[in-house]
């Protein structure tokens, strides 16, 4: 019966909301600090951020050397 389905769904929703309400949360200041710290630590190894020198760019078409 659809009413029983509706009640079953409502019970599941309440159960799920209980789980979500009960989690531990950290302060936004800590969350933000950790994101900033991660970005900073890995910035110099981020090729799209700092750029790739032509000589080290595997995607750059290298002009063939001509041996004279």
């Amino acid at each position: 019966m659809s009413t029983n389905n509706n009640i079953a769904q409502a019970r599941k929703l309440v159960e799920q909301l209980r789980i979500e309400a009960g989690i531990e949360r950290i302060k936004v200041s800590k969350a933000a600090a950790d994101l900033m710290s991660y970005c900073e630590q890995h910035a110099r190894n981020d090729p799209l951020l700092v750029g790739v020198p032509t000589s080290e760019n595997p995607f750059k078409d290298k002009k063939p050397c001509i041996i004279l």
Partner: protein, 340 residues
């Protein structure tokens, strides 16, 4: 009062509790926290390669792990595995159903998967004995289209579907191990956490959900978008989630603070986000839009710092290689482009 009424009241109470609990830890905003950080300089990437070969719209692409190979799926009915350095096609796999919406590369490099309006996830073995690529398994049980799939290993894959569920499959037996139900709209996209313990899903109910794979539970639900979420990804350290929506914005949600930290939006952008990928450090967010462009955002400062303009139709998919060296975009114009 009837049980239905009581349950509704309790649900509302719990929702209020969650809203309160999130406010309690909101001692600052990301914008305030990064006030002293300089904006990254203008990011200008160039197209280094154009991968030509598909004959119709490209709907999905996925980089292999620790490799310059990637796989793409097009509604021309083909999966193509590309060597992006040489632009050579390593494999061109004809599909039974041309209505493909997603593809994935196994971390091992041994398999690829795809699916779409056939409601199935087909797994292909790239390393078969006779060199031919064949269908290894057809994972069938979803009652709606397959919108996304991601391998956990050669033996497990997670799928998201228009039937509003996500499923963890045992590839060997072809059976469903776990069904993740809870979304109230089509699931459009999923991403696996860097430690492979969790995954996130974005759906047409405007929410993103964080799931614990082994416990088979939904841990957290994130709201705020005003339309379908089409794209989702993890920040590289696994502590935050980025979503892209038809409401023309992307959002960053922190998992441990359990709330949205910032929205990436611009009054000049009025079309939906189709795809997204963070750069290796997480500082840049590359997002593909319906207006044929990719916008590059400074993820901390929430400002646009670059644009990739080069496609002649919608950018449907985007990915950054695992070493962060290049970004690949796929488009309805039938081409893939490699940028750095």
């Amino acid at each position: 009062m009837g049980e239905m009424e009581a349950l509704r009241k309790e649900a509302d109470n719990l929702k209020d509790q969650i809203t309160e609990a999130r406010k309690v830890v909101q001692d600052t905003t990301l914008q305030e926290a990064v006030a002293g950080t300089a904006l990254v300089g203008r990011v200008q990437l160039k197209t280094r390669k154009t991968l030509r070969g598909h004959l119709a719209k490209i709907y999905a692409m996925h980089w292999g792990t620790d490799t310059k190979f990637c796989v793409s799926a097009s509604q021309d009915g083909k999966l193509i595995v590309w060597d992006t350095l040489t632009t050579n096609k390593v494999n061109a796999i004809p599909l039974k159903s041309s209505w493909v919406m997603t593809c994935a590369y196994a971390p091992s490099g041994n398999m690829v998967a795809c699916g779409g309006l056939d409601n199935m996830c087909s797994i292909y073995n790239l390393k078969g004995k006779d060199g031919n690529v064949k269908v290894m398994r057809e994972l069938a049980a979803h009652t709606g289209y397959l919108s996304c799939c991601r391998f956990l290993s050669d033996s497990e894959i997670i799928t998201s579907s228009g039937d509003c569920t996500c499923v963890l499959w045992d590839i060997e037996t072809g059976t469903e191990k776990t069904i993740f139900a809870g979304h109230l709209g089509d699931c459009m996209s999923l991403a696996v956490s860097p430690d492979f313990k969790m995954f996130i899903s974005g759906a047409c109910d405007f929410t993103a959900k964080l799931w614990d794979i082994r416990e088979a539970t939904c841990r957290q639900t994130f709201s705020g978008h005003e339309s379908d979420i089409n794209a989702i990804g993890f920040f590289p350290n696994g502590n935050a989630v980025i979503t892209g929506s038809d409401d023309a914005t992307c959002k960053l949600y922190d998992l441990r603070a359990d709330q949205e930290l910032v929205t990436y939006q611009d009054s000049g952008i009025m079309c939906g986000v189709t795809s997204l990928a963070p750069s290796l450090s997480g500082r840049l967010l590359l997002a593909g839009y319906d207006d044929f462009n990719v916008n590059i955002w400074d993820m901390l400062k929430a400002e646009r710092v670059g644009v990739l303009a080069g496609h002649d139709n919608r950018v449907s998919c985007i990915g950054v290689s695992s070493d962060g060296m290049a970004c690949c975009t796929g488009s309805w114009d039938s081409f893939l482009k490699i940028w750095n």
